[in-house]
Amino acid sequence: MDTSLKFERIDEDDKHVLLRVYGDVTIHTSPRLREHLKPLLNGGVREIRVALEHVDFMDSSGIATLVEGLQWARQTGGRFVLSGLSENVRDVFELAKLDTVFEIEGGSA
């Protein structure tokens, strides 16, 4: 299991940001995801897209981190979108019964 996590942030304009995640999101790496997500949640953007096509494994700590984005969207009226979920990652969202709560774009990678 990969213990590192890397990110690519693309500011499409001052209101729309894409955050691409590379690696496994686990209890060890999810604090890094939170570090990269927090500035976006507090930064006045209107839409955050989290691209997960390079994430093969995610546990509940990763989902909990993404729930913070969902809370931000509901509180501010912004959009928090997940995309590129692999079959395994999508399965975890389904098991947690959160696949219909998040806005998830596209089919399985």
Partner: protein, 132 residues
Amino acid sequence: MVAVMTARAGMAELQSNRVAIAVDELFANIAAHAYNGKQGRVEFETCIGNSGDGGQELIFNFRDYASAAWNGKIEEVTTAGTEVHDPLSPGGLGLRLICSVADRCEHEVYADGNHWRLIFKINDKDQLKDGK
């Protein structure tokens, strides 16, 4: 080790990932709740055994030596099912994932810690189709 055992059990990738999730979540729960994030000893063993009904099962045993007992939380989750009452409150999500993917979750409180057992049925070709 989990991947080796699920491969030996002939599990498909999706089921193998579910087993990995359950093992990962149980380790995380022991670390966070039994040991309160402090360093602690966990003994871990795994085997493939007969299930008693003609099939086989993949078993993971965890033994911790934490003074804090689990307070019956895993039993509460098991009996409560896996419904998400408030999706924006992710507390207990790890335990819900464990209970939704393992065929059995067992927990015993010892005088000097806890014993956990996760059991996954194998040789059940309908397992994934049934949503397990």
